[in-house]
């Protein structure tokens, strides 16, 4: 059964995936007032990788994921790759669940055990992943409208308390913080898009991977840039990196008469994160089943989702570690998953496809 996601829905899926659980965290805090520069740099640096991913998908000539992979890479290498990425996607899914459960505990429900929130999330994402990518994409579009509306309103309100002078002086400490910030952003969330490579089953045309990944990624980067910079201008460059959730903090300073808006931001965060964790779970399930040679992935969703519950509690236990994982992360593994492996496979794919075409001509 082929699952086909229309381009516009796919784009929104990519967008929400990137924006997803990023929204409340203080990204690129190292860059200080140069945070916008860090974002731009990170976007420019990530774009080739995104293009590369789209290119590999496009090389598959519109074939479905599994057959396309075998056609381009050969059977065993692609299965090995799938196994590696299964681990990555599953771990990412654990991280996101743990982000949300920690956030909810810190902000709203201090006495509720995190396992409870994690279990409910796991159950919901189990359902979502079983429904498949088509349903997830539809879900993304419906929810994106809520997310966009909230973001727009909070952005406008934040503008009224933002102080643009916070961005000065530009590059006071030189380019180093900018690059450090950019590297953080590359790792989380920009290049996590590699997970999405495994999620889309097939595309409608050769060009549609580009139409899905590139605009989706760019608009997500833009949204993050705008929201993060605005909240930095509200919170203050010197205080930005102090808070666990700077955007949330920034929004809590808006006073619209006596209405309190931060709850809505929390809600948006929960929705975006949910999508991200469901997508990761879906990717993990697809990778596992593909690695063992099954064409249907749905039957492994339940054990993987149930493994996420303890995983999310075990890999990251406290809010302080959430910050570490969000901001400092694991540079090595990230580099391997997000840069090295994709580049290697892109090269392989190009060579093999070129060879095949050559042979085709010769024969």
């Amino acid at each position: 059964m082929r699952e086909h996601v229309p381009d516009d829905q796919g784009m929104i899926l990519v967008l929400l995936f990137v924006v997803g659980n990023t929204l409340v965290f203080g990204l690129g805090g190292v860059a200080g007032p140069d945070i916008w520069l860090a974002f731009l740099t990170a976007t420019v640096m990530a774009l080739p990788m995104i293009l590369l991913m789209a290119r590999v998908r496009s090389l598959m000539q519109g074939a479905a994921l599994y057959s396309g992979l075998e056609q381009v890479f050969g059977k065993w290498p692609s299965r090995g790759l799938a196994l590696v990425y299964a681990l990555y996607a599953w771990r990412l899914s654990c991280f996101v669940v743990s982000d949300v459960s920690n956030f909810v505990q810190a902000i709203a429900l201090p006495n509720t055990p995190k396992v409870v929130v994690a279990s409910i999330l796991a159950l919901l994402m189990l359902w979502a992943a079983k429904e498949g990518v088509e349903v997830l994409a539809r879900f993304a579009v419906v929810m994106s409208k809520v997310v966009f509306a909230v973001l727009l309103v909070t952005f406008i309100l934040l503008l009224s308390v933002a102080n643009p002078a916070e961005f000065l002086p530009v590059m006071y400490d030189g380019a180093k913080p900018v690059f450090l910030g950019a590297f953080q952003l590359l790792d989380f969330p920009f290049l996590e898009v590699v997970v999405l490579f495994w999620v889309f089953d097939c595309f409608s045309s050769k060009r549609s991977p580009f139409k899905v990944f590139v605009p989706g990624f760019l608009s997500a980067a833009l949204i993050l840039l705008v929201m993060t910079s605005t909240s930095l201008a509200v919170v203050g460059a010197d205080r930005y990196s102090v808070f666990y959730f700077p955007i949330w903090t920034a929004v809590s300073r808006i006073n619209v008469s006596t209405m309190r808006l931060e709850a809505i931001v929390g809600v948006t965060f929960a929705i975006g994160s949910f999508l991200k964790m469901a997508v990761c779970l879906l990717a993990a399930s697809r990778c596992v089943t593909y690695a063992f040679g099954f064409s249907d992935y749905r039957f492994v969703v339940t054990p993987l989702a149930l493994a996420v519950i303890p995983g999310s509690q075990w890999l990251i236990t406290t809010l302080m570690e959430v910050e570490k994982s969000a901001i400092k992360t694991y540079p090595t593994s990230a580099t391997i998953y997000q840069v090295v492996l994709p580049v290697v496979f892109w090269v392989v794919a190009e060579i093999r496809v070129a060879k095949a075409r050559h042979q085709g001509k010769g024969g």
Binding site: Q9, A108, T112, V117, A137, V141, M259
Partner: protein, 512 residues
């Protein structure tokens, strides 16, 4: 799958398939003793033709199912006055009578007892003549019919006043009057092992995809049920996502609505005896659309539609959000309000959730009571119940005053969307429980679940949320708002697969 399939009666009528006997007396005997036994509404009118060789005839019909004057005037009188040639016998005689004597426009020959039984039950009179192994079925249907009136469930301020009635033929003609084009097609199917109810599928063959029509026909054909008394039977038997509480098949009492849906590429299903037409596929947005949106000025229509969306949000979410706020996040309530809510809840013995469920239950009871009782009493009940109970409950400190407002707003907002009101109760309960357990985040998880459910649903191959899951401008012109007609050049792409042009480019008086 459905238990009544197993109880299907497959014992055939003993005489049903037998041919008629040439002898009138034998025929009458079998009719009286077997096919139409124990039915005292059946009339056997004996008479003779005139002329030298008078033949014995019997006209059999069910009382009150036929037009009596019609039978007297166009069957009995010419038959009695006729004198068929002497040499005619049997089948020839019947053919002669049918061709030369009977003046009715609808008549056919019947040869079996079973057929006679079915015909008579449907208001057809059967003429039997001695010596002939055939009968003449004369269509003289005439039972009490309801006039074409304004439908009570979908009244409009602005718009046509006609509504469907119980007669299939009339209903089809009402739709045909709206869509008088040769592209308008109807197709008949018969459902019900007992009732053989006539079901019509209506569509436009230049707009609707034929796959859809086939799918509808296939699903209706697959129904094996003894009786179809209303289109509701069919609705439940052919729907997608049977475990989801959301409707996946639309119904309307109005020919204009049915015509509009057919024009968008949907298929309408009419069932004999039911004043409700079914339309498929049915999308969630349709629950928020009302025909008046299209008849009113577009800004007004859009505003009303917006109100409908907001009301639905209110009716499903207010109690849950209220519970979440007062039991988990009092910090999110404006200070003055939180102080006054706290004060008003001082002497109330129950926690918020008990209050919500209690009051919600009382509200539903009042509503149900109001609906089932005769109208004048019903109104009295609801008003007295609402005012007296509410007031008394607050002064007795059984519930807090804000809760009365919450329940009242919830209930009233529910009436705005009758199509989804029944489900709203379920969603509300789900949300309330989740909010009572996890506060606002519980409510959010509930919302995620509902949206997931909706995203996973399909109606006849079309995603249930179709217009909401796209960012293409053309497809969202008729969703939350209604843009002016001159803007809606194309039909929705997810339904109309063939001719998508709704508006010729240069037509429409004032395209911008």
């Amino acid at each position: 799958m459905f238990f009544w399939q197993k109880t299907k009666k497959n014992a055939p009528q003993p005489r049903g398939l037998d041919d008629l006997n040439p002898s009138l007396e034998i025929n009458l005997h079998w009719l009286k003793a077997d096919i139409l036994a124990s039915d005292e509404t059946i009339v056997y009118r004996r008479f003779k033709t005139s002329g030298a060789k008078a033949r014995d005839c019997v006209l059999v019909y069910a009382d009150n199912m036929v037009k009596h004057e019609f039978l007297s005037q166009f069957v009995l009188r010419p038959m009695m006055q006729s004198s068929p040639p002497k040499h005619l016998r049997g089948e020839e005689l019947i053919r002669y009578l049918s061709a030369n004597v009977i003046e009715s426009d609808g008549s056919e020959l019947v040869a079996r007892y079973g057929e006679i039984g079915d015909k008579i039950m449907n208001g057809v009179a059967v003429l039997l003549v001695d010596g002939c192994p055939l009968g003449i079925a004369v269509d003289a249907k005439g039972w009490p019919k309801r006039a074409v009136t304004e439908p009570p469930s979908e009244s409009v301020v602005r718009g046509p006043r006609t509504g469907f009635s119980e007669d299939l033929g009339v209903n089809i003609s009402l739709v045909r009057l709206k869509l008088s084009s040769p592209n308008f097609k109807t197709r008949f199917l018969y459902v019900g092992t007992q009732t053989k109810t006539k079901v019509a599928i209506l569509y436009l063959d230049n707009v609707t995809s034929l796959d859809l029509v086939e799918e509808v026909a296939r699903r209706i054909d697959a129904i094996e049920i003894d009786a179809v008394l209303d289109s509701g039977y069919i609705q439940e038997m052919i729907r997608d996502a049977p475990y989801s509480p959301f409707p996946t098949i639309g119904h309307t009492e109005r020919p204009d609505v049915a015509a509009a849906k057919i024009l968008e590429g949907r298929v309408a299903v009419l069932v004999d005896g039911s004043p409700f037409a079914l339309t498929v596929p049915y999308l969630l947005v349709e629950a928020f659309q009302v025909n008046e949106d299209y008849y009113n000025q577009w800004m007004v229509g859009s505003f009303h539609r917006l109100i409908r969306y907001i009301s639905y949000f209110i009716t499903t979410s207010t109690p849950a959000i209220y519970i979440a706020l007062i039991s988990y996040h009092p910090q999110l309530i404006p200070t003055n309000l939180v102080v006054s809510i706290s004060a008003s809840r001082k002497n109330v013995p129950f926690p918020g959730i008990v209050e919500v469920i209690l009051m919600g239950l009382v509200f539903e009871i009042l509503r149900e009571g109001g609906v089932r009782l005769p109208r004048p009493i019903g109104q009295a009940i609801s008003i007295v119940g609402a005012i007296v109970l509410g007031e008394a409950a607050v002064s007795a400190s059984l519930v807090s005053a804000p809760m009365i407002i919450v329940v009242g707003v919830t209930g009233v907002a529910g009436f705005v969307n009758p199509a989804l009101n029944d489900i709203a109760v379920l969603i509300r309960l789900l949300f309330v429980f989740l909010a009572a357990g996890l506060g606002l985040y519980g409510y959010v998880f509930g919302t995620i679940a509902i949206v997931l459910l909706l995203s996973s649903m399909e109606s006849f191959g079309v995603p249930y949320l179709s217009t909401m899951t796209t960012i293409r401008p053309q497809d969202i012109k008729d969703t939350v708002v209604r843009v002016p007609w001159w803007q809606m050049r194309l039909r929705p792409r997810y339904l109309a697969t063939k001719d998508r042009q709704r508006l010729q480019r240069r037509t429409g008086s004032k395209g911008p």
